[in-house]
């Protein structure tokens, strides 16, 4: 390390990156990583608070309002409480994997934020393959969950781990296909580039793609109606049933980090990211970004407050029989539009795509047919 630091780092700094990074590569990196971590943790606490308050409104309750003004410090109290709990490892657990699992789960979820543009160019790294990086990294999280499920030596956890593997792997495919539609329109894989290309939000240009991505990502982060892996009515708490204390806190944080990640990705891909009337002030785009993120999360909460849970075979069937064909059709249509009518006004395409989405959903609604169909996973 000393040799590396003394010789190679300055070389890197001065030669390769000096021009791009005004404060020097490493200081830039460290500062921004710290900012990101703080951002993620604060956002997670904000999300926890927001979810609890908002869902209680749907359930005609008040929600946590005791600690601090409007109960704002409730998440802080929860964190303190959870951290001072005893860390219990089951006797027959695979101790090493049991320890590594939460770290394995949370690291990729935080890594996603490296390429999220909070403002024009304000990302940790403006990768030119940003979206590809996200797709690659975000699916590593499930390895942690599977490790947790396996190492806990608990049958509920094992069932949950099996469910999460089947579910997340299936939903990766329609998810990626839906993203390609956006990429085709934007003509770039860079997250910042995609935002810059959105003169009208892609939710209008890609209504079907948005729907597929939204549903798929809800399955990916295991929210209702796809929250099979922690279906408390069936397998109690799922993969993290044998976790307590700090390790459980990491899983809990992971759950919300993934929710934030998905909300930010949806905001970036479909809702125009940081774009919005800025009135010439430098902070406004970040605010726009946050408002959109919370709006997306509000919809997710709304869905959670309303819907029951699907069964495992129905979840799998939904991915393969409903989302995947739709995603492929969407991709073909988008490709055709980009290749054959590149000069056509965007608003015409918006109209065509909205109508097409409605027709396709109606046509595929036979999936919800209830007469005696046994969909085997």
């Amino acid at each position: 390390m000393p040799i590396f630091a003394r010789n190679i780092l300055p070389a890197l700094n001065s030669t390769v990156l000096a021009s791009d990074w005004p404060a020097g590569f490493w200081s830039h990196l460290i500062i921004f990583i710290v900012i990101l971590f703080v951002f993620v943790i604060f956002m997670a606490m904000g999300f926890i608070y927001f979810e609890r308050r908002f869902i209680s409104r749907f359930q005609i309750r008040i929600g946590p309002n005791r600690i601090g003004p409007f109960g704002l410090f409730q998440p802080v109290a929860d964190v303190i409480k959870i951290l001072i709990k005893e860390d219990i490892v089951p006797l027959n657990a695979d101790k090493l994997i049991h320890l590594l699992a939460p770290i394995m789960a949370i690291a990729p979820a935080i890594m996603v934020f490296a390429v999220i543009p909070f403002q024009n160019g304000a990302a940790l790294v403006n990768l030119n393959i940003g979206i590809l990086y996200i797709v690659a990294v975000s699916s590593i999280s499930i390895v942690g969950m599977v490790m947790a499920g396996w190492s806990s030596n608990n049958k509920y956890a094992l069932v949950s781990a099996m469910r999460v593997i089947a579910q997340v792997v299936s939903y990766e495919i329609p998810l990626a296909l839906a993203i390609i539609g956006v990429v085709l329109f934007a003509g770039t894989l860079s997250m910042n580039g995609i935002v810059q290309a959105q003169n009208i939000p892609y939710i209008l240009l890609q209504p079907l793609g948005f729907l597929i991505y939204f549903l798929g990502s809800m399955a990916e982060i295991n929210r209702t109606p796809f929250d099979l892996l922690e279906a408390e009515g069936e397998i109690v708490a799922g993969y993290n049933i044998e976790y307590s204390g700090f390790k459980f806190a990491l899983f809990y944080l992971n759950e919300y980090t993934e929710a934030i990640a998905v909300s930010t990705i949806i905001t970036t891909l479909y809702l125009g990211g940081w774009r919005g009337p800025s009135f010439g002030l430098p902070v406004i785009p970040v605010l726009w970004f946050l408002v959109k993120v919370f709006a997306v999360f509000a919809v997710i909460i709304w869905v959670r407050a309303t819907l029951p849970r699907l069964r495992i075979d129905q979840v799998m069937g939904f991915a393969w029989k409903f989302l995947l064909p739709l995603a492929i059709i969407n991709l073909l249509v988008t490709g055709a539009q980009v290749v054959f009518w590149p000069v056509l006004s965007h608003w015409v395409i918006v109209g065509v795509n909205v109508v097409l989405a409605a027709v396709l959903i109606l046509a595929f609604s036979r999936f919800f047919r209830t007469a005696g169909d046994k969909i085997e996973a």
Binding site: Q59, R61, A231, R304, A305, R309, I312
Partner: protein, 367 residues
Amino acid sequence: MSLKTETFLVNAGPQHPSTHGVFRMRFILDGEVIQDVEPVFGYLHRGIEKLSEGLTYSQDMVFTDRLDYLASMTNNEAYAVAVEKLAGIQVPERAEYLRVIMAELMRISSHLMGVGFLTNDIGAFLTPLLYMYREREKILDLFDMVCGQRLTYNYMRIGGVSQDIPDEFIPALKKFIDTLPKFIEEYEQLLKTNEILLIRTKNVGILTKEAAINYSTAGPVLRASGVKWDIRKAEPYSVYSRFNFEIPTGTKGDVYDRYRIKIEEMLQSIEIIKQAMAQLPQGDIMAKVPRVLRPPKGEAYGRIEGPKGELGFYLVSDGATNPYRLHIRPPSLLNLSPLRELAIGVKIADAMAIFGSIDICMGEVDR
């Protein structure tokens, strides 16, 4: 190619989020599919039948509150009906009408809980349940007003009811009955056509008509399977013969039918309460019953239609102040008997839906 697999045993309960109390199911699972299930209970066994033998007839009333604690009023009524049959007591008109009003309110409340917990079991995060709690709370308010408790009412007495209703009861009841259909309509919008609810409940856990009869199921479970059997019509007790109401029946006997039956029955109960309110006579609320009741030697079986099915008390008297034998026909326990047959071959999630749709109360199962 075949993989070598093996089944494994999973315990759901006694502490499990969707067992409605301390109930345990031992699943033998092949992956997600249930190969065998054995219901295990007795965790809440308090020996009420034995305890009752040691106390007087009027004191036993308080134990019936603790049977099905979501429907204490009807338990009270069933016991009172049985003892009255044994001792040959004629109940005054007004008391009968009050009993009908209370029993139907209790039925609405119990069915609200049944539907709410069913949606909870199939994964709706508390929302429909909490909406239904709201309506149940209004009913509990009314009960509280009449008898001073929210859960263990101890309202019915042998030969009548304990206290007359206060003046503000009827206006409050009217208000509640008028607004309830609106809220039920809201639940219908929330649940009736919800696609996810449909695919989770339709064609799941089909209990055929023959099986339902053979397994001695009762109440909504039996009616959902298409058997038109309701004690209120089959053997009208109290003043039920004076009211116009329908007995809703299902066609298939799946989870969805069991859910629909409960909603339909609530609407019928509203009709009964409206008629009972209109006909409510003035007069006594208690028959002349000796302070220490000594029914003649003999036995009697009194039954009513409880929210969960036929609830009956089989009493044997040897002429003393205590019952010689008191047996409870628990609808919850008997409705559980088809559980094993229904659950074999389905996935865990469906088993929970089936279990939720049977709508049991552990206080009554274990007694």
